[in-house]
Symmetry: C2
Subunit: 118 residues, 2 copies
């Protein structure tokens, strides 16, 4: 992950509403959640929610797919793992693999890969 990508991801998450949205999507897993349902859960006006979803999308932290009239937003686990890897890249005298950074792919526990990010 490049520095500018890391900054974009950090800035996107450094905001209460967006952190709430992202964590909700992380919990929702790979099924994702329609925008309307996110707004309902977090009690957000549609324009406000749309703005924040766009920020998260531009930062690469979420994607979406259309299903009928709904747009289903999904957390981008690879981006989160990349951010964790970037933050720990300079730890441990440069031997990031020594940190054993965990990864999450959003699916069932049996699918979770162990070991350092590539």
């Amino acid at each position: 992950m490049e520095k500018l990508d890391a900054i974009a991801a950090l800035a996107a998450l450094a905001q209460g509403t967006r952190l709430d949205v992202f964590r909700l999507l992380v919990q929702a897993g790979t099924d994702g959640m329609p925008a309307g349902q996110i707004g309902e859960r977090l009690d957000l006006p549609s324009a406000t929610l749309s703005f924040h979803l766009n920020q998260l999308r531009h930062a690469g932290l979420v994607t979406f797919r259309r299903e009928g009239r709904s747009l289903i937003y999904v957390a981008e686990y690879a981006a989160m793992n990349g951010l964790l890897a970037y933050l720990t890249e300079n730890c441990c005298q440069g031997d990031a693999s020594a940190c054993g950074i965990g990864v999450c792919d959003g699916s069932a526990l049996i699918n979770i890969k162990k070991g350092p990010v590539q």
Copy 2:
């Protein structure tokens, strides 16, 4: 780590100059680095550097100690580990320990603790 602490840490790191400063201090390890040397390395005006060091300090990401006329800034590894733990807290259907989040304490490799953050 509480939500507001996480947001403060994310916001502090979501800025090019501060990310540079923090990573420099992470590399410097527990010895830290005097403010003047940080400014020299990153070519920053003293007022600008001071402002950013303050932001990092308020976010709990760095501390400092005085040594003569110099203030030695040091990365706060616990805060970084707390942030990583917070970000992955909602992964894996709530079983964060399954992610095996790595930790770094800034000292030699032999001191690195393995396993999930408490």
